[in-house]
Symmetry: C2
Subunit: 233 residues, 2 copies
């Protein structure tokens, strides 16, 4: 298993308001993997990005390994890779069943939550503001808020049984979940008072140093709610 | 790391014409993991399925482990789990970079190929026939055929450089790719003569015993083209 070489330089191509990009920022930060963040726009995928990832998706991690550039594309590949190269700072559970549960929850955020909350609420407010695509659609936002409540209920049910999403220890699933929730938190749309266990779990994550880069970025013309900066909200 | 217990019984809930379900059938077969196949309909997700997987998606693997039923949901979780419990029959490459490339390609099939070819060509012909949802849309099918050619070109480019998709050895990426291509092959829509390297690679996979369950199922009223049964087409 290869490990951090002292001369290795690492660049992360990630978009500030794109959930999977935010996952990569959190995971690299939490792992202590030093990197330069090259800010990209997830709504405008350039030929430059497509040359690195034929699927045309972010995030993309570039590593200079002795003059050769290694390209790691998207969370599906980046998450196992980062875990592979940092065996001394594990964010995987120690058992096969624990890891299976972690991947199930990661998929639940990246597919279910992203489609039902991200593609409605976050898309209507943040993506449309970023891309100057006109006003948000009220019905889509209402649907997003409704779906958000259902997803918070399920997270609350899990966190009534477990300290972190998969069990006693923080795993990649917690960071993926925090990345997805962070954009709804930016908007001030999370009904925290109705989800106290989720709030307590999210506050624990938001207080970690890896969260700082996410708190430093703003959508032009759409500042976050003041509570976004409150680590103990 | 736990391994096959002699009394373990395993049931796979999988839909015959659903790409991710076919991936699970191929991987369990290739790994020699004995299981019962409970056939499901991916177009009609029952409450029974939702109780096992809140995301309401197939495939789902059930394992009876000493009286307790363990539930493993969807390929995102099932693929790492199956690899974890069969360390002596690896379908992962041996290096972090090899594994990163494998996951990149798996994601390319499960997202890009599935959206651009599966959701057009396969959906219009197979899903609509299965669900009695009316005739296929000609324009969507033309778009699917166009996208298929682009995807075959990229696969051909890879297979000009590598014997299997990731390198010298078969990995999970080859089985995932074969699962996705198999439904287009069922329809007779793959322009094999224009993709000789992809044809040779796919023929190698189709000849493996793990493929047999896929060849044994038929869409009612829509039999496969005769070449579907030809392992050396």
């Amino acid at each position: 298993m290869t490990d951090e070489a002292p001369t290795l330089t690492r660049t992360l191509l990630a978009a500030p308001f794109h959930e999977d990009s935010r996952t990569a920022l959190l995971v690299l930060g939490e792992k202590g993997l030093h990197h330069r963040w090259r800010r990209e726009n997830h709504l405008n995928i350039t030929d430059d990005i497509r040359a690195l990832n034929p699927a045309g998706r972010l995030p993309i991690l570039l590593e200079d390994q002795g003059g050769e550039t290694v390209v790691i594309c998207e969370t599906r590949s980046l998450l196992p890779y980062v875990e592979d190269i940092t065996p001394n700072a594990p964010l995987h559970p120690p058992t096969p069943l624990g890891r299976a549960e972690m991947w199930r929850l990661i998929n639940w955020f990246e597919v279910s939550f992203a489609q039902q909350v991200g593609q409605t609420l976050v898309y209507e407010k943040i993506d449309k503001a970023l891309g100057k695509m006109g006003p948000p659609d009220a019905q889509a936002m209402r649907l997003g808020l409704y779906e958000l409540r259902g997803h918070l209920e399920y997270l609350g049910w899990l966190l009534d049984r477990r300290h972190w999403l998969v069990g006693d220890h923080m795993t990649l699933a917690d960071l993926v979940g925090a990345a997805h929730l962070s954009l709804v938190d930016y908007l001030g749309d999370v009904p925290w008072s109705q989800a106290p266990l989720v709030k307590e779990w999210y506050a624990r994550l938001k207080q970690r140093p890896c969260f700082r880069p996410l708190l430093d970025v703003q959508v032009p013309g759409l500042p976050p709610v003041p509570e976004y900066y409150d680590l103990d909200f």
